[in-house]
């Protein structure tokens, strides 16, 4: 794909050399009114990182409270608020938008050789909606907090809780629109703006995963919107929909909620899988093994994900028939997930693996997703879940998939694409230290919780039996290591911004299109519209030995 040599290594004419999307125009206003997908991606990135920081602070507070079996630092109401805000911030402010809206926005057009997404203004609108939603969530925190859990279960959320449920749920409602618009934009962009020669099967697999994610975002998020509106109506106007005292059906709320939120867990993980694929292939210099298998397993996961929501409701009082159906269907999710797992391993097999920082995150992803995904199958088993439901086993499971897999993939992707986004390299040594502490701290904190869960420790308890105290304390110590790991990672990246060495166009010797332009790219992405003649992971003939 490399052009014949002209002026610089990438064939850029003198006019564009030294210019990039960051220095093209300056000033806050130029950012707030930009329609450049790269700038929007960066603003999303900053926003989700703030969300992550906020959620992280609540996480550390929750863990600190659980250090002892009775009161440690806060009272019971504050504890309920802390875990609710932790969950809500992490899910809605961080993990759902994390990869698609930041890395996806930045790299999707670059990877297909386009100038921008299909609807740049809609893209900016989605960012503004996200901010507006976030403001409502912050307002909820300031005006009384929320203590319902991130799942907003009725009738507690619709009738009993005295906290700012309406503000929080309305915030989530608005953020949902942002998510829908991003998904829509990606779908249209992938259909319409691929560069000449960029057929579907030549797209990097990250894009297939974003495509599958977008389908879910567009299809499922409206259901969340409806659910939250119904909840708000019931709370504000006492219309009986879910509350049994008003003639409603509380289990129906759970159907509505999980019909969105189970697919939403794939909104969270699919982009992470995509990032992992890019990292594993690039840093082992191997073409992806089983390209189509990985591509279609993403789509398969998206489709199957709509059929299994009831596995969150085995003890809700739903019918035994439903439980049996959902348990049965849940196991089908494992098939495409397993397909991916083996193809990733196949990709690494015989590759020249370099343990760069992104690769460390990539390998950690494989390991942690293995644990997270497999424990999902334990929980999907009806009889086992009757014991494990609402225990720390569930907490450990979803932290292994959300934090251990998606967040780790996100940080891996951040390190992988950092040179492209910022034009700066980072201190590899420091980044490794950050990674190591994160990885150790994560397993320390959460593997412990598998054990707590199997021994019967329920989740969301303020006080607990003394027999659980040692393991709880152990988990809390792990959270400090984990926090330190992230802190070091942030320091490392901040230092890179300030004084990192300039990044070459293609530091990892990757084959995908985003590396064929400057670091950081010019506003138009490519000086000449690229013409694609090779598969995503194919090297030009003269390079392959």
């Amino acid at each position: 794909m490399a052009n014949t040599a002209t002026v610089d290594e990438l064939g850029h004419s003198p006019e564009v050399q030294g210019k990039n999307y960051l220095n093209q125009t300056a000033g806050v206003w130029s950012w707030l009114t930009t329609v450049d997908h790269k700038r929007i991606g960066i603003m999303y990135l900053v926003t989700v990182l703030v969300g992550f920081g906020l959620g992280g602070i609540f996480a550390l507070l929750v863990r600190l409270e659980l250090l002892t079996a009775k009161k440690t630092i806060m009272d019971a109401t504050q504890y309920n608020q802390a875990f609710t805000l932790h969950g809500a911030a992490m899910v809605f402010l961080f993990i759902i938008p994390s990869i698609p809206a930041s890395l996806g926005n930045f790299f999707l057009p670059l990877m297909i050789g386009a100038k921008d997404v299909a609807f740049p203004k809609l893209n900016l609108l989605s960012l503004y909606l996200f901010w507006i939603g976030a403001v409502f969530m912050l307002a909820a925190i300031v005006t009384g907090g929320v203590d319902t859990g991130w799942t907003f279960y009725v009738p507690y959320a619709s009738g009993v809780s005295t906290t700012s449920v309406i503000s929080a749920t309305f915030g989530v409602f608005v953020m949902g629109f942002s998510s829908i618009l991003t998904g829509l934009n990606f779908i249209v962009t992938l259909h319409k703006l691929r560069a000449p020669g960029m057929s579907w099967y030549r797209m990097p697999l990250f894009l297939w995963s974003l495509y599958a994610t977008s389908i879910i975002q567009v299809l499922a998020t409206p259901v969340l919107g409806i659910t939250l509106l119904l909840l708000i109506f019931e709370r504000a106007f006492h219309i009986g929909i879910f509350d049994p005292t008003l003639g409603g059906d509380p289990v129906l709320f759970q159907h509505f909620f999980w019909f969105y939120s189970h697919p939403a867990v794939y909104i969270m993980i699919l982009p992470g899988m995509g990032v992992a694929t890019e990292i594993l292939t690039t840093h082992s210099k191997r073409r992806v093994f089983g390209y189509k298998a990985i591509a279609f397993s993403s789509v398969a996961i998206a489709l199957v994900s709509f059929l299994v929501w009831g596995h969150h409701m085995f003890v809700s009082g739903q019918s035994e028939l439903s439980s049996a159906i959902f348990s049965f269907l849940t196991f089908f999710v494992a098939i495409p997930s397993g397909v991916k797992m083996f193809n990733w391993l196949g990709t690494l097999w015989g590759g020249s693996i370099k343990f760069t920082v992104p690769m460390l995150y990539g390998i950690a992803f494989l390991f942690l997703f293995g644990i997270g995904g497999l424990t999902g199958l334990f929980l999907g088993t009806l009889s086992v879940d009757l014991h494990l439901h609402d225990t720390y086993f569930v907490v450990a499971h979803f932290h292994y998939v959300m934090m251990g897999s998606t967040a780790i993939a996100f940080f891996g992707g951040l390190h992988h694409w950092w040179p492209k986004m910022t034009g700066k390299m980072y201190d590899e040594k420091l980044a490794r230290v950050g990674f190591a502490l994160t990885f150790i701290g994560f397993n320390w904190t959460f593997f412990t919780q598998f054990i707590l869960g199997t021994r019967g420790m329920p989740r969301r308890y303020y006080n607990y039996l003394d027999q659980f105290q040692p393991l709880h304390a152990f988990s809390t110590y792990g959270s400090w290591v984990l926090g330190t790991g992230f802190l070091i990672t942030f320091i490392c990246l901040a230092r890179s911004l300030k004084s990192g060495a300039p990044a070459p166009a293609n530091p990892w010797d990757s084959t995908t299109l985003e590396w064929q332009t400057q670091s950081p790219p010019i506003t138009e992405n490519f000086e000449k519209a690229p013409i694609v003649t090779l598969d995503a992971y194919e090297r030009p003939a003269e390079e392959t030995a």
């Binding site: 299809l219 259901v223 059906d249 289990v251 129906l252 159907h255 019909f259 709509f306 059929l307 009831g310 009082g317 739903q318 019918s319 035994e320 028939l321 439903s322 159906i325 959902f326």
Partner: protein, 168 residues
């Protein structure tokens, strides 16, 4: 960007235009005809409700008529009939999607509480919740099985502590 009639245009509506949009104008009388059809079917719906063919029967008839009406609207008023096939697929999958949500949810709402009835007939002895299961369990070693057998038919509520194996 022609505005020719459906009959002339619809075979080559696809691809011959600029891709996304299939411009298409129907003669006025088609709209009037559709309107009349919808009104007529509404009358049929009302009329059918007076014929008693059982609760389910009436429901099926009403839903059938409603489906026909909705299809007429989608196909003619919304021009899906002359649009890209792909858009039709999207439209239908939206309905399928809704059917999945409602259908599977009904596997709950229609069958809820069935186990309760069974459990009411065989109430669990809280002091020894697994007793009934143990007697039926062929994997139980011989020396325990007879102890729990015989009297183990879980006569409502009456706990028989003697039958509890010493292991407890």
């Amino acid at each position: 960007m022609s505005t020719s009639h459906a009959e002339h245009d619809h075979e080559h509506g696809h691809g011959s235009t600029n891709g996304d949009h299939v411009p298409h104008v129907l003669p006025f009388k088609v709209y009037i005809g559709t309107f009349a059809t919808l009104l007529f079917l509404t009358v049929v719906t009302v009329a059918a409700s007076y014929v008693n063919i059982g609760h389910t029967g009436n429901l099926i008839v009403a839903l059938l008529i409603a489906t026909i009406k909705a299809s007429v609207v989608a196909l003619i008023f919304m021009h899906l009939k002359w649009d890209h096939k792909f858009h039709g697929i999207i439209f239908v999958s939206a309905l399928l999607f809704l059917a999945v949500f409602i259908g599977i949810t009904m596997s709950d709402t229609e069958f809820r509480g069935e186990a309760e009835a069974i459990e009411a007939k065989n109430p669990v002895d809280l002091k020894d919740p697994f007793k009934a299961q143990r007697t039926g369990d062929i994997a139980i070693p011989k020396e325990i099985a007879p102890a729990a057998g015989g009297s183990a038919a879980p006569a409502a509520g009456s706990a028989a502590p003697a039958a509890v194996p010493a292991k407890h």
